[in-house]
């Protein structure tokens, strides 16, 4: 059991809509292990992004416990958890527009406060961003390049957990495949726990475990 990176225990999430309580996640119990590439699929509105937000510390579950390597993330502190223990990749990249690729990655490293063992240039190079592109303003890069920068930024923290929300949603199939390959490599070669929420069959097919979210329940 010591290879469990993230453990969900009776995790529930609901919100009030027009006076009615709408249940999104219903007592989910699941353990994500390191070295595996997970994809979470499900119909629109099934709560995939909510689940991702909860497990990445962007939001809090209404009930239940989430543990990162046997430590409750509430105890770690959500801000601390986000800064040190989880790398998040968004569908819309969410890069800081007034910076270049290099500066975006550097910002994540400085917020994390942990000295990276690898250089920013190496990190960017690992996801396919060369030195020239790394100095260009982020808005001058293509969507695929921006997503690569977002992955490099997530990797900068050297955490074991990488969570991505529709990372190939805005990319062409060739670029999407490149991104998928990066995730696979991170899981299989660097022993990271990669969890991806996706609608993409291509991505789901290449993952080690496909989880389906339906009626608030997570099933294999």
């Amino acid at each position: 059991m010591n290879n469990i990176t993230l453990h969900l225990e009776d995790v529930s999430y609901s919100y009030n809509e027009a006076g009615k309580e709408r249940q999104i996640l219903n007592k989910i119990n699941y353990s994500f292990e390191e070295g595996k590439f997970y994809s979470i699929v499900g119909p629109s509105g099934s709560g995939k992004t909510t689940l991702l937000s909860v497990i990445s510390g962007l939001d809090q579950p209404k009930q239940g416990t989430i543990k990162y390597k046997d430590k409750k993330i509430n105890k770690i502190g959500l801000t601390n958890f986000r800064s040190k223990y989880v790398g998040i990749v968004f569908q819309s990249y969410n890069l800081l527009s007034y910076m270049n690729a290099h500066q975006n990655v550097k910002t994540a490293i400085e917020i994390c406060g942990v000295k990276s063992s690898t250089t920013i240039t190496n990190l960017l190079s690992k996801v396919g961003i060369n030195e020239v592109d790394s100095k260009r303003n982020i808005l001058k890069l293509s969507g695929g390049q921006q997503q690569r920068v977002a992955i490099a930024r997530a990797l900068a923290k050297e955490s074991n957990l990488l969570i991505a929300d529709e990372p190939t949603g805005n990319l062409d199939s060739s670029t999407a495949q490149d991104i998928i390959n990066i995730f696979k490599k991170l899981a299989h070669e660097e022993n990271k726990c990669v969890i991806v929420v996706t609608h993409s069959k291509q991505l789901a097919d290449e993952s080690d475990v496909v989880l389906t979210l339906n009626d608030g329940n997570l099933v294999i």
Partner: protein, 489 residues
């Protein structure tokens, strides 16, 4: 990249937005600083005017108030004004006040030359019209024969404090001036021409007589001789010896009572025309007046005058400018604060996504707010520096223009005042009023930005920035990153 570097980078990359904020700050700061600088300059000018007019305050019978009360009593026309005598004991009450540095008592009367000859104008005697006028004046003097009004006795406590001598209109040429030690003595100081005409010297004794009773004579001893630059006004319709400045004799204020035999003023030894108090600082005039009003003196009948009319004439236009700048400062500060607040609110709203990204990366909330504050404070400091340089020129131009307009507007009143002042000029005592020519309205101000204004504006500006940044930014970053990034805030 830490939040300080992020702030600098954001300012640099978003240079257009930075310039826009900078320009807004500069415009607002220029207006506020100019307003404050003009306000300050007008205050300084008022202080200078007060200093220029000196630190003398005069206690005397309030003629205007008496005229007013006479007319409101419904007697019709000009009723007889009862002149309440100013008692020495009342005047001495004010000398105890802390702000009084020195004081003088002044009184005046006329006398006949008994053992000497007064200096007369050659063309006066045979003029019948003048003679009639003199008779009229004689009636005003209680029925005395105008031919007997030879000399003016100007009673003082200390002669060196009299404006005639402080302004050097009159200068001692021999002997000494009268001091407080001469009170209750018959020592006098006479004019040089009168002395030459009568072969008089310091140490000589002469005789004067009451204008009502030639037998009421008094021996006076000359202790000093002065020379006056005052000349007789040739256009003056009433002429008698006492009107000639050469025939003015300075005496201790206690001596004038000795030559008055008018029944109404038999107790004149304790009465003076006025008391002049010289304060330690002209700026203490208001304090002195305030403290004096608490003393047991009938303030419905007496007044304290610190050249107030002249002061009002001098500072009238500048007060108008001050009023305008005061209002401007308030309006610009309020409007500027609103504009800055709205601008900063919009800027912060625009950066909601950035806040969400930084929060999702695990950045602390206070560092996100600090980054925004650093950006705005830096721009504010630059704007303040530029405004300090530009606002002085702007304030000087605006201030001068406003003042010129106000001086032009007040010119009619000013001329009236000066005419009135000039009409008062016959060579008698009481010239402690400012020379009317000196009482011109102030028509230039020296505007400069002081440290005080700079600090004031910096404080207000920084406070506005702090409030306008922290409040909206806190409202955004209190949400979780998911909510911010999905733009649900």
């Amino acid at each position: 990249m830490n939040f300080i570097k992020r702030a600098l980078l954001s300012m640099k990359v978003r240079y257009f937005r930075s310039i826009l904020i900078l320009m807004t700050f500069i415009v607002i700061l220029n207006l506020i600083l100019s307003g404050l600088a003009i306000q300050h300059a007008t205050e300084d000018s008022a202080v200078s005017a007060r200093k220029k007019l000196g630190a003398d305050v005069t206690l005397e019978f309030d003629m205007q108030s008496a005229m007013k009360s006479t007319s409101t009593e419904g007697k019709g026309g000009f009723g007889r004004i009862e002149r309440t005598p100013l008692l020495v004991k009342d005047a001495e009450k004010l000398t105890k006040l802390n702000t009084v540095k020195s004081y003088n008592f002044e009184t005046s009367t006329f006398a006949s030359a008994s053992s000497f000859t007064e200096i007369r104008q050659a063309d006066v005697e045979s003029d019948s019209n003048t003679s009639d006028a003199n008779k009229g004046q004689g009636r005003m003097m209680g029925g005395a024969d105008p031919e007997a009004i030879d000399v003016t006795l100007s009673g003082v406590r200390e002669l060196n404090l009299l404006v005639d001598f402080t302004s050097e209109t009159s200068k001692l040429t021999d002997g000494r001036l009268l001091t407080v030690d001469d009170v209750n003595t018959n020592n006098v100081v006479i004019e040089k021409n009168l002395a030459i005409e009568n072969n008089l010297e310091v140490g000589d004794t002469i005789e004067i007589a009451s204008i009502d009773d030639a037998d009421n004579k008094l021996s006076i001893k000359i202790v000093g001789i002065y020379e006056t630059s005052t000349i007789l006004d040739e256009n003056m319709p009433i002429r008698f010896g006492a009107a000639n400045p050469y025939n003015k004799i300075y005496v201790p204020y206690t001596l004038t009572a000795l030559v008055i035999t008018n029944e109404e003023e038999t107790d004149a030894s304790n009465i003076i025309n006025k008391a002049v108090y010289t304060l330690d600082d002209p700026l203490n005039i208001d304090k002195f007046k305030e403290e004096a009003k608490k003393l047991d003196i009938d303030w419905t009948k007496f007044k304290l005058d610190a050249n107030d009319t002249a002061f009002e004439t001098m500072v009238g236009p500048i007060n108008q400018v001050a009023n305008f700048s005061n209002k401007t400062v308030v309006i610009v500060t309020v409007a500027g604060a609103l504009i800055m607040s709205l601008l900063l609110f919009l800027i912060i709203r625009e950066r909601t996504q950035e806040f969400g990204i930084l929060l999702s990366l695990g950045e602390k909330r206070y560092k996100i707010i600090s980054q925004i504050l650093i950006e705005l404070v830096l721009l504010f400091v630059i704007a303040l520096g530029i405004s300090t340089l530009t606002s002085q020129k702007m304030a000087q131009t605006i201030g001068n223009q406003l003042l010129v307009n106000e001086v032009q507007n007040s010119s009619v009143e000013e001329n009236g005042f000066i005419g009135g002042m000039r009409g008062m000029g016959f060579g008698g005592q009481g010239r402690n009023q400012v020379n009317p020519i000196e009482a011109d309205p102030i028509d230039a101000i020296n505007v400069s930005i002081s440290q005080e204004e700079w600090k004031q504006v910096s404080g207000i500006g920084l406070l506005i920035i702090l409030i306008s940044t922290i409040m909206p930014a806190t409202l955004i970053v209190r949400f979780n990153p998911r909510k911010i990034l999905t733009r649900n805030v």
